[in-house]
Amino acid sequence: MDGIHDLGGKEGFGPIEVDEEHVAFRYIWEGREWALSRCARAPHISIDWWRHCRELIQAEDYLNRPYFDSWAQTDLSTYINADILSIEEIKTGKADNSSTKNLPVPVKLSLEYLRKNHRENAIKFNNPERSEPSIKINQSVLTNRNGHSGHTRLPQYARGRHGVIHKYHGAHIFPDLSAKGIKTYQNLYSVAFEAAELWPEANGRRDRIFLDLWESYLIEVN
């Protein structure tokens, strides 16, 4: 979707707070939200659907509310959508337990367990049986001119632009369909764009921007 989340190259967001204290969580609730997002999720969810639910937060909230707050709102929206939580429960803060009878009981995991088994959280998104690129390295490509109203990972700033295939990464889950609950694989490439191809003021600057793009975002050109 052409939402507020698609920020690359947008202007008017002011300076960056660079002198930030180095701390994982500035507030207790930030840590709780991070941990909650690790422990539980609505059924049928995919990372792409979750991201799309975050993108759908009203633009002014997306820009104004704290970062992990938007995670909490996203989580809430997915639980409500899955009929696990209700607006009423959220308003009152009181759980009506009728809706969760058939859900698995959560296990208690210790810090020591999590530390030792953290590698289980390294999710693979590729299909190891498919590793043949259909576009060659150094091939010139043109990206799609349009996105669509669903979740997609071709940002506005890189649409309708010429790039060069830099690297092939195998076939990865295609996010546009994954966000609709459909798991398919598609070849994924790092594509290199000259800065001057993307930005009007970049003429003569020898910088490059690399994006990881799926095959159906790309058209081979001469």
Partner: protein, 216 residues
């Protein structure tokens, strides 16, 4: 009814906008207490996850990877070929590093990492991302004006150096391998890793120094 209905989520967000308390701490407390009460999460597991990312996992891990790459050419080779496999040797594989790519700074190249569409970050080796990494300001500007952003971070990059910005649009995470600072050849791993700043592994720092320890 489809469980993947954008319109329904939009309506839910409108309800939440109206009915959620404006205080973020209260919002998260509501979510947590409802999930605990419904038996969907275990309170002690939540505690353990908080502790894991407050105490155990942080940019120190990335710094160890960098220091090892500087001193062990074979490890560096494995790291450049398949970083996920290489960090698994060190026990650092985990959240969001299932597909990891290391990009190396050279005298002629400077690498920078961003996620313009959300805030993807290699959690299991750098910990929780700094707040600036998740701001609209960083996400919007770094792909368009990397040099002016670097100036704000106090990093001046000569025009002759190519800047490469990596926008993490897929499930592939990036780690910048900074250049080893002059005069550090004889240092041991522990000392070397103390020279590596978190920002240098994202790309908003470039010139590591042997007489300053990690600040950020």
């Amino acid at each position: 009814m489809s469980k993947f209905d954008s319109k329904r989520i939009t309506e839910i967000h409108q309800h939440l906008h109206t009915h959620l308390p404006s205080d973020s701490a209260l919002r998260v407390k509501t979510l947590e207490s409802l999930l605990v009460e419904k038996g969907l999460v275990n309170g002690e597991t939540i505690d353990a996850w908080v502790e894991l990312y407050s105490e155990v996992i942080g940019p120190k891990r990335g710094a160890e990877i960098v220091a090892l790459a500087w001193t062990d050419p074979e490890f560096k080779q494995r790291l450049m070929n398949n970083a996920s496999l290489a960090i698994d040797e060190l026990g650092f594989l985990g959240t969001a590093t299932g597909h990891l790519q290391v990009v190396e700074n050279t005298p002629l190249v400077h690498n920078l990492v961003v996620c313009t569409l959300c805030s993807c970050y290699p959690f299991s080796i750098l910990g929780i991302a700094p707040a600036w990494y998740k701001t609209a300001a960083y996400r919007s500007r770094i792909v368009r004006n990397p040099r002016s952003v670097l100036e704000e971070f106090g990093v001046e990059i000569d025009d002759s150096i190519e800047i490469r910005v990596w926008d993490s649009t897929a499930e592939l995470r990036y780690l910048v391998l900074p250049q080893q600072p002059e005069g550090s050849k004889s240092m041991d791993l522990k000392l070397l890793s103390s020279l590596v700043t978190r920002n240098s592994m994202i790309g908003t720092d470039r010139f590591l120094k042997i007489n300053t320890r990690r600040k950020s």
